[in-house]
């Protein structure tokens, strides 16, 4: 019942007669044309700017560019989550959001942990390896 009331233009008016057998209760949110177009336009902008930054060599330092395009990627992922995957805190009583938060925590630990540990391992192992490399003709 909550899904019906927040449809702005009444996309579900045309088939009220067979409401009982085609699954309005399947937990799916109602998508709107406006929502999809908003998401699409935002995605196009958020995709075009990083490509322009890299292909046009806009910043002098590549580390600045890397940080900026990672920021754009995070924003674009959020846009896709909201407008295309219809994420909100209410769907399935919040269980999808809970699963998403748990996944994000695990993903952040996996990525940051791997990069952090392996960077330091490479850093600490390098002198010994370089020493051996000098003997190689």
């Amino acid at each position: 019942m909550s899904a019906h009331t927040d449809t702005p233009h009444g996309a579900d008016h045309g088939h009220g007669a067979h409401d009982d057998h085609h699954g309005h209760d399947d937990g799916a949110p109602h998508a709107t044309f406006k929502g999809y177009m908003t998401g699409f336009v935002l995605s196009v902008i958020l995709t075009a700017i990083p490509f322009w930054l890299v292909m046009g060599n806009v910043f002098d330092k590549s580390s600045t560019t890397a940080m900026v395009i990672l920021g754009f990627a995070v924003v674009q992922i959020l846009v896709h989550m909201v407008y295309f995957l219809h994420m909100n805190a209410k769907s399935e009583h919040g269980w999808t959001m809970l699963a998403l938060i748990f996944t994000i925590v695990v993903v952040v630990i996996t990525l940051s942990g791997s990069l952090w540990v392996m960077y330091h391992m490479n850093h600490n192992m390098m002198p010994g390896m370089m020493h051996d490399m000098h003997k190689v003709p």
């Binding site: 699954g23 399947d26 490509f51 990672l70 295309f84 399935e92 748990f102 993903v107 791997s114």
Partner: protein
């Protein structure tokens, strides 16, 4: 109907007739398919997180071979990205047509989505063939191994998404918009948009940052 829960204790009814039913006021899905599929997507997300972590660790181990800046053609990647982004919005249009019960409109947008996905896979295969032809195959360096593992896993997902799309088009053509088909189309919608989300990570982390040195 599932919002109403009957209290079956006879004593409770006689004691207080107004407490015979209560309406919880919350939206109960009839089944857990959407939540279950979401959990699958989240576990798939962990697979990609591992592949991204591997690429992050090994992405600069060129073994004196070619680097991303030597190999990647960003114009091709921009084309690929726009194809996948367009296929996301066309799938959205298919879902809108499904909401207004138009089988024909849904099928047209699904065909467009499938063609855009096939174009994406075609360009990716062309890129892979080009790299392997240049001697930059997965066996060349740790960078290329992790690159092929990550990007090809995403490509395989898109390929299976296209197969699923074709199967669903046959289902819709045969049975129309029965509840099961609506549910399947919504699952594929989540899958397809999820692959687009993963691709955002791929083009940013692998291609754009690979070209930066």
């Amino acid at each position: 109907m599932s919002d109403v829960t009957a209290l079956s204790t006879p004593g409770a009814i006689s004691a207080n007739p107004s407490a015979r039913y209560y309406v919880s006021g919350e939206h109960h899905p009839e089944n857990g398919t959407m939540l279950g599929f979401w959990l699958y997507l989240m576990s798939d997300c962990l697979v990609f997180a591992c592949l991204f972590a591997i690429y992050g660790v090994l992405g600069r181990s060129f073994a004196a071979g070619p680097s991303g800046a030597d190999l990647f053609d960003l114009r091709l990647i921009a084309l690929n990205t726009s194809l996948l982004l367009l296929s996301s919005i066309t799938y959205g249009f298919a879902m809108l047509e499904m909401q207004s019960n138009k089988v024909r409109g849904t099928m047209i947008w699904l065909v467009v989505t499938g063609l855009l996905g096939a174009g994406f896979i075609g360009i990716e295969l062309f890129e892979f063939a080009h790299l392997i032809h240049e001697g930059a195959g997965p066996q060349r360096s740790a960078f290329l191994s992790s690159f092929f593992a990550l990007v090809a896993t995403h490509g395989l997902h898109v390929t299976f998404g296209i197969i699923w799309l074709i199967v669903l088009m046959a289902q819709v053509a045969k049975h129309g918009f029965i509840a099961a088909n609506r549910r399947r189309l919504m699952c594929l919608s989540m899958f397809w948009h999820f692959l687009d989300v993963v691709w955002i990570g791929v083009f940013t982390f692998v291609y754009l940052m690979g070209v930066l040195q």
